[in-house]
């Protein structure tokens, strides 16, 4: 059957609508017009003309509106935190999210520009930022883990976890010291085994603290049940200190540390923009991997010009490997929040989806 001329024109103008709108409503629109045309034809030619005028008159305006709405929707989705619960972020919340990354980045950048001489002004800026971090900590604890405070609160988690980790490490090494006669064993293999053990201990400590937090704080548990990737964001800042640890004695490592922090910031940016939880986690994992690998490469590069450098390649490689050896623990810790969904649904908050 030949299609009516109103439908033909309608179909042509419909092609000017945004693709998503066409996919969503195109067939429905054509169906409704086809039915209206049939109804008007039954009534007479005048009704067909009136219908054509009404339909074709409104189409250009509707087309423009669909494009504007599409654009507005796109802009909304690009807003930081638009896909997170209670998002998108306000400007000051966004600033708070990046505060734990900004402080070490500024520290390194200012240190580089000042050539290691920290003036009163630079110290003042540092104190100001630390004050802001303190305010975010207090707000995060008082308001019980709002999303924008999670990265900063992750640093507190680090202080606790790393403190316990150091105690356990000291105890272990003190106990084992008589066996190999020195603080660290000479054998690389045993050293790697030690690192694996300490990694496991660190993972266990962080997991334990997170479990205690989830048991004690129902708002945090509810947040984790709504979006488990937020817990990964919470522990993401555990990586920041690792960019600076083990490398205090190195001269000239600052540019690599700066790049590492920028990579971590990029990971955080992707986290708050991307819609899928899995891609967000993947970004955090990739950023952590890249950041610590960058520090490792940096140590390898600058090692020969250090005062304590030796021509032994294995020593250089071992020193460069230090940050990378901490990676497995950090990557596993980032994935731990996946276990939140394994918690009994009857405990704490029962999500609507689970309830259904």
């Amino acid at each position: 059957m030949r299609s009516h001329w109103i439908l033909s024109i309608y179909r042509i103008i419909l092609a000017l609508f945004p693709i998503r709108y066409r996919d969503e409503y195109g067939e429905e629109l054509l169906y409704a017009v086809r039915m209206s045309v049939e109804q008007a034809q039954a009534k007479g030619r005048l009704f067909v003309i009136r219908l054509a005028w009404r339909e074709l008159r409104d189409l250009p305006g509707a087309c423009l509106q669909a494009h504007l709405s599409e654009r507005r929707g796109l802009m909304m989705k690009l807003q930081p935190g638009a896909y997170l619960p209670d998002g998108p972020f306000k400007f000051w919340q966004l600033a708070a999210v990046f505060l734990p990354f900004t402080i070490p980045m500024l520290g390194v950048a200012l240190g580089l520009s000042a050539g290691g001489n920290f003036t009163n002004l630079l110290c003042g800026i540092g104190v100001l930022f630390l004050g802001l971090l303190f305010i975010v900590w207090i707000t995060g604890l008082v308001k019980v883990f709002p999303i924008w405070t999670l990265p900063s609160l992750g640093l507190i988690l680090f202080f606790f976890a790393y403190g316990l980790y150091l105690i356990s490490q000291a105890v272990t090494l003190t106990v084992l010291r008589p066996i190999w006669g020195s603080y660290w064993p000479d054998s690389i293999f045993i050293r790697l085994l030690m690192y694996t053990w300490f990694n496991l201990v660190y993972i266990a400590i962080v997991a334990l603290i997170m479990m205690i937090l989830l048991v004690l704080s129902k708002p945090l548990l509810q947040l984790a049940r709504r979006d488990w990737s937020l817990l990964s964001f919470f522990v993401y800042t555990l990586t920041i200190p690792y960019v600076f640890m083990n490398s205090d004695e190195y001269q000239g490592l600052e540019p690599y540390q700066l790049i590492s922090i920028l990579i971590l910031i990029a990971g955080a940016v992707f986290f708050i923009i991307l819609p899928s939880r899995w891609t967000r986690l993947l970004m955090l994992l990739a950023a952590t991997l890249l950041a610590l690998t960058t520090v490792s490469l940096g140590i390898y590069q600058i090692f020969p010009v250090q005062e304590f450098a030796t021509p032994i390649l294995s020593f250089r490689v071992w020193e460069a490997l230090q940050p990378v050896l901490d990676l497995p623990a950090l990557l596993i810790i980032l994935c731990l929040p996946l276990l939140v969904n394994r918690l009994p649904a009857s405990y704490g908050y029962k999500s609507p989806a689970t309830a259904a």
Partner: protein
Amino acid sequence: MTNATPSPPPVSEPVFFILLSLVSGQKHGYAILQEIQVISHETLLLSTSTLYGALSRLEEQGYIRRVPTGQQLAPGLPRKVYELTSNGLTLLHGEAERLHRMNHIAQQYLPKASA
């Protein structure tokens, strides 16, 4: 003078009739057009593009929602059937109340103006 509770925003005539057409139950787009013709005594004839533009916005704002019915427009193309949400019903009541109030005010003042 300030109101303690904010009243719902005024709605346009097409939106008012779209919401009203859904009070009697779930409908697809063309059925909504037909219902509007009947309840407005053919004083309001909406174009399909205006209807679907409004449906899209109302759905986004949570005043109506799509319901899965199993009906198909074509094979593999489910028909979009809409129903009123509680927010939509509240909006409709608010608008009816507002129109009633305006009508009452107009009734008070119009005779004086024409006198």
